[in-house]
Amino acid sequence: MNQGEALCLAFFMEVEPMKRRRELFVGFLLILPALIVLGALYVYPLFLSIYTSFTVGGKYGLANYAKAFDIYWRDIIYSVAISFTTTVATLIVSVVVSGYLRFKNWKFLELMYKLPLFIPFLIVGHAMRVFLAPHGTLNNLLTRILRIEELPGLSRSWIGLVWAFVWIMTPYATLIVLGAFKSLDSAYIEAAQNVGASKWKIVIDILIPMCRPSIMVAFILTFVRTISSLTIPIMVGPASPNMITVNMMFRVNYFNDWGTANALGVISYLIVMVFAIYYLRFMAAERGGIKA
């Protein structure tokens, strides 16, 4: 806001303070429903869960956190590792698919990559555990082709878990990345093609760097959705180590222990927040960069 604008505003506020206030009030009323929903369904549970995580039998303390780290420290690292692996794999697949679709219009692929969006997690979990079981569909096929007696199953292992996650998360990430790729001005690509750049080179040197903000969004959304998923780890993941969500469920269902469950919840908020803060700072730097 420059000085002129400020003066203008001050003038209007002085002349018509009543009208201004009324407008503000109407504006407030308009956003009130949204605020109430946000408060009741998001802010209140968030604070309640943080509060519960610090209470043990009516007293405040860090016992829940001590327990969470004592028993589940390995699972916390495991959850981050699985989510990170999933996210990286998902991004690679979605960049490859988007890069391809940026240059070639293949209707079939365009339809197929979106398909997993419409299949519920539960169904995917069940399908994957049958598909990847030691005597499941995949291994039955492979043993016949390769003529081997036994193959180890992928379900109930971290590979199977990442496999299932990537299958689910890819369409969403691809939607974001492809959207960014397509909205990029073709002039850049054509210029590169004129000087003889290959399609791969264009994807890596032009599309990815120029669409970095969108890819970051895809990264964070995939990471958050993975680390907060419960169905897939329960159905496909190994019996141990477990994802944080499985342990939260176990704490509540078997022990009625909301304290430790909420402590684990708060730990996963913090993990997600690390990425969110990084993202915000990155975005701020990016905007500043554009201005400069």
């Binding site: 004592d70 028993i71 589940y72 390995r74 555990r129 049958v130 079981a133 030691p134 005597h135 499941g136 199953g153 379900s155 109930r156 329960i234 159905m235 496909v236 190994p238 019996a239 141990s240 180590p241 477990n242 499985v246 469920m249 176990f250 509540v252 269902n253 078997y254 022990f255 009625n256």
Partner: protein, 382 residues
Amino acid sequence: MRRLCGVVLLIVAVVLLAQANIPIKVTLTMMVAGDQNMVDFFQYEIAPEFEKLYPNVKVKVVGTGPGDAGSQQIIQQLQLEKDSGKDKWAIDLVVIHEAGTIWGIERGLIRQYTDFLTTRRLVTMKTAEVALGVNVNGYVMPMFHSQTAIAYNPRFVKDPPKSYAELVEWVKKNPKRFGYNGIKGGMSGVSFVFGWVYWKSKNPDVLMNGPFDEKYMEDWPQIYAELKEFNKYVTLTAGNAGTLDALNRGEIWMGPVWVDMFYTWIREGRMDPNIRLILPEPGMPGQPMYFAIPTKAANADYALKLIEFVTSPAVHAKYIVDKFNWYPAIGVEYVTPHLGKEVFERLYRDIKEADLLKFGKRMPIADYRTRMLEAYERWVEK
């Protein structure tokens, strides 16, 4: 004057009686924890029969899901009703696990009612009085008893191990051919672990009946270290159904299962009927499901009638034992006259009644139970 009084009294009596005769439309809302078969049981078998008996009643069945999670849901719902301060709660009847029952009693969410129940006298099992070491007498009527056992595929296992000790030897000869679902994927795995601790512990009776004292847990680190060693030779499956699936596909040859689930799958053609059961020495735990009535249930009278109906010998025999393959909650001698011979033999083919009495253990009392599960997380999974 006296005459007038008499007339007035007569009129009042007539009015009252007339009102009692008008059938009031009642919706009996029940919440059921447990697998889908429990919900189906009430929705498609019991509700139509009960509504025939009491045409003014409509039974509404809400399933809350399997395991203690299902009971947890019920307790949360009842707590909400209580917190709302209403005089009449919207839930009339709940079917709940042992742990859930204890939470319900602790928080004053369920009431004592079994004094008014005639079929309560037919119960022979201790579970009507004690759940996980807590006195629940009066608050609950068992609906059935379900038992865990080890299923084995005779095609691969000619001579199944008859005890935990033999099983340990067996898995070393047949690595990865015994499978169970750990402790986070359902109660059949949990039961196997409890059975393991009972076998190794010096004081299994204390674990089942109390009292709670940490000194009875001193040998646990060693017990769980051995279980961790055992786990190296086994496959960890995905849930109760996961174990049955893996048995079906021949991935594992043995594994702990719920007896009722096992027979139901066979009856529905979802399970290889050649697979057999064995209850290994020194035994595995089983558990009842309980009927309980919320403290301020609006239609407690009809809830009581429904419990009476389900636990009456004829209905119990036809539905609980024959159709759903559960062990009866009331004494076997009351049920047998209503059962066909083949039904009786099916349920008691592999596991004889004597085995059940000898090797059918209780779940550990609540304090040991949570510590056993946590010990598994701490010493076996880590």
